[in-house]
Amino acid sequence: MATLEDGVSPTQTVVPTGDVIENPRRRDYLKVAAVSFAGVGAAVTVLPLINSMNPSADVLAQSTTEIDVTAIEPGQAIKTSFRKQPLFVRNLTPAEIAAADAVPVSSLRDPQTLAQRTREGHGNWLITLGVCTHLGCVPLGAGEGENRGPFGGYFCPCHGSAYDTAGRIRQGPAPKNLEVPNYEFTSPTVVVVG
C-alpha cells in the first residue's frame, strides 16, 4: 500500500494494478477501529487498579470467627470481633424473648421477628454485629453494666438509636435492625461466624 506517494491523498488508495481510487471510508474505518480497540484496552487496564482496592486476601482470611459460648450466662452478652468489626453475642433470658415476641411486627421500622433473627433450636442466642446502622458507632449494652436503652437491648450513644432485645431498631435515626451475620452452631456451645 502506498497511500502517500506523490499525488495520492490520504483519502485515496493505490490498488495492486497501480490505479489510484477514491476510498474515503476505508481510512475512517481503520482509524475508528484502531482508536476503539486501543481505547477499550486502556479502559480494561483500569480494572486491576480498581480491583486492587477491594479487600485483599489477608483481610478476607479473617472472615470467619469461631466462638465458644459456654461461659455466657442467660442475660449476659459478650463483645468480640468479626472481620475487625464488633460482634455482640447475647444469651437472652426467657423474659427478654417474651418481650421481643410481644411486639407487633407491623409496628416496626424494619419488620422482623426474633425467630427470623436467630437459628432454629438456638432461639436464645442473639448474634449481631455491634455496628449501629446509622453511622457505624458501637452501641452500648453488651458490656457489664452498660446502658441498654429504653427497650432493654442496645443503645447507641452517638445519636440516640435504641434497639430492643431482638436487636431491632425501635427509636432514633438508625434505619435498620442490627445486622445478623451468617453463622451456624457446629456444636451446642460452639458457633462459627462468617
Binding site: 480498581i50 482496592m53 477491594n54 479487600p55 485483599s56 483481610v59 463483645k79 470481633s81 472481620r83 475487625k84 468489626q85 464488633p86 455491634g130 446509622h134 453511622l135 457505624g136 458507632c137 458501637v138 447507641c156 450513644p157 452517638c158 445519636h159 440516640g160 435515626p173 434505619p175
Partner: protein, 429 residues
C-alpha cells in the same frame, strides 16, 4: 488577559536574555504576579486571602513532606509514630506536627474568608465564572485532603471519623455497602484504609496546586475584580501587582503569621479533640463524635434529617450535605443581578449577612451534641441555607433596585476628582 498598558518584561543582562529566549519562565512569573500584571488600585484587605491561601498550601506541603519522613502508615504504628516519635524524639518534630495540624485550620479559615469575600463582592459573576467553578473544585479537594489527613494519627477521633464518613457511602441504595467496603479495603477502617488515605493525602495537595494554577490562569483572563465591582476602564484604574500588592500581601502574611504562631506555640491543641490522644479502638466509640471545626456546618446539615421521606433520612442527610457544596457550582447562574458588589445592592447585602449568621449557627449546631433543640436549630438553619441560594438570591436579583455605580474605579477612589480623568503623572506626583 493583559491590559494594553501592562509593563513588558525586559531581561537586563546576558544571562536573563539567554534564559528568556529559551524558556521564558521569568517572563511568565513577571506577567503573572510581577510588575507585568495590572491590578485595580482599590483592592481592600479581603483581597489578601487568595495569596494567603497559597501561602497555607505551601506551608502544608513543606511541613507535610518532612512529617511523612517520620510517619508509619500502619494501624499498629501510626499513633506511636506521631505521639511518640515525632512529638518527643524527632528534632523539632513537635513544631512540625503542630504547624501542620494548625496549618490545616488556618488554611480552612483563610479559604472560608476568601469564599465569603467572593460571595459579598460578586466575584463569581461574568466574566469570572470559571474562576469560581475551579475554586469550588479546589474547596472540595481541600476538604477531602483535610479529612484524610485527620485520619492518619489513628486516634479515637481519627478512627471513628473515618468510620462515620465512609459510612455516608453506605447510604447509597443497592451498591452503597459495596462502595464502602471498596473504599476501606476491608469491613472496618484498618491498615488498608490508613495506607490508601496516606497515599491520597500526599497526592491531593499537588492536585490542588495544579488546580490553583488553573484558578489563577482563569482569573488573569479578565483580570482581578475589585470592591466596587466596576470593571477597569483605563490605565488610571490600575497599579502593577509588584510592588503595590506584593507589599500589601506581605503585610497580610505578617498578620497571618502572628496568629499562626499564637496557635502553634500557645494553643497547639485548642482546635483539636482530647479523644484523639487515645489510640484507635475499633470496639469502643467515643461518646461524642465531632469532626474538626471547619466541617461543623456540613455535619449539622448531615444530622438535620431525622425522618424518612421517599428516601431514607440517612440518604437525605448525605445528599443535602454534598448538595450544600455542589450548589455553589450553580451560583453564577442563580444570581442574575448584573451588579457585582454588595456595596451597591441593599437587599443582597442584608441577605449576605444573614447567610453568614446562618452558617455560624449551623457550625455551632454541628459542633454540639445532637440534643432535640440543636436538631431543630440545625433543621431551620439548613433549610435557610438552601433557601438563600435557591430562592432568596434569584428573587432579590429580580426585585432589587441597586444604588448608582461609580463611573470608574478612579472616581470611586478619588471622589469628584476622579471624574476629571487624572493622568498617570498626576497620580505619581
Amino acid at each position: 488577559m493583559s491590559f494594553p498598558w501592562a509593563r513588558h518584561y525586559e531581561p537586563k543582562n546576558a544571562l536573563t536574555q539567554w534564559i528568556d529566549s529559551r524558556l521564558p519562565l521569568p517572563r511568565f512569573v513577571y506577567n503573572a504576579v510581577g510588575a507585568g500584571y495590572p491590578v485595580p488600585r482599590n483592592l481592600n484587605y479581603f483581597w489578601n486571602f487568595g495569596v494567603l491561601a497559597g501561602v497555607c498550601l505551601v506551608i502544608q506541603i513543606v511541613t507535610g513532606i518532612v512529617l511523612a519522613m517520620h510517619f508509619h502508615s500502619s494501624a499498629a504504628g501510626a499513633f506511636e509514630s506521631i505521639n511518640g516519635t515525632i512529638m518527643r524524639d524527632v528534632n523539632a518534630g513537635w513544631f512540625l506536627r503542630f504547624a501542620h495540624a494548625n496549618g490545616a485550620s488556618m488554611f480552612l479559615a483563610v479559604v472560608y474568608i476568601h469564599i465569603f469575600r467572593g460571595l459579598y463582592y460578586g466575584s463569581y459573576k461574568a466574566p469570572r465564572e470559571m474562576v469560581w467553578l475551579i475554586g469550588v473544585v479546589i474547596f472540595l479537594l481541600i476538604m477531602a485532603t483535610a479529612f484524610m489527613g485527620y485520619v492518619l494519627p489513628w486516634g479515637q477521633m481519627s478512627f471513628w471519623g473515618a468510620q462515620v464518613i465512609t459510612g455516608f457511602f453506605s447510604a447509597i441504595p443497592v451498591v452503597g455497602e459495596w462502595i464502602r467496603v471498596w473504599l476501606l479495603g476491608g469491613y472496618a477502617p484498618d491498615d488498608a484504609a490508613l495506607n490508601r488515605f496516606f497515599s491520597l493525602h500526599y497526592l491531593l495537595p499537588f492536585v490542588i496546586a495544579g488546580a490553583v494554577i488553573l484558578h489563577i490562569w482563569a482569573l488573569h483572563i479578565p483580570g482581578s475584580g475589585n470592591p466596587t465591582g466596576v470593571e477597569v476602564k483605563g490605565e488610571q484604574d490600575t497599579v502593577p501587582f509588584h510592588p503595590y500588592y506584593t507589599a500589601k500581601d506581605g503585610f497580610g502574611v505578617g498578620v497571618f503569621m502572628i496568629i499562626f504562631a499564637i496557635l502553634i506555640f500557645f494553643l497547639p491543641d485548642y482546635l483539636g479533640h482530647p479523644d484523639n490522644y487515645i489510640p484507635a479502638n475499633p470496639l469502643s466509640t467515643p461518646a461524642h463524635i465531632v469532626p474538626e471545626w471547619y466541617f461543623w456546618p456540613f455535619y449539622a446539615i448531615l444530622r438535620a434529617f431525622t425522618a424518612d421521606f421517599i428516601i431514607p433520612a440517612k440518604l437525605w442527610g448525605v445528599v443535602a450535605m454534598f448538595g450544600s457544596i455542589l450548589l455553589l457550582f450553580f451560583l453564577p447562574w442563580l444570581d442574575k443581578s448584573p451588579v457585582r458588589s454588595a456595596n451597591f445592592r441593599p437587599m443582597y447585602r442584608i441577605a449576605f449577612w444573614v447567610l453568614v449568621l446562618d452558617v455560624l449557627v449551623l457550625g455551632y449546631c454541628g459542633g454540639s451534641a445532637a440534643t432535640p433543640a440543636v436538631v431543630i436549630a440545625s433543621q431551620l438553619t439548613a433549610a435557610y441555607y438552601f433557601a438563600h441560594f435557591l430562592i432568596i438570591v434569584p428573587i432579590i436579583s429580580r426585585l432589587e433596585r441597586p444604588k448608582p455605580l461609580p463611573n470608574s474605579i478612579t472616581e470611586a477612589v478619588l471622589g469628584d476628582h476622579g471624574g476629571s480623568r487624572m493622568s498617570e503623572t498626576a497620580l505619581s506626583a
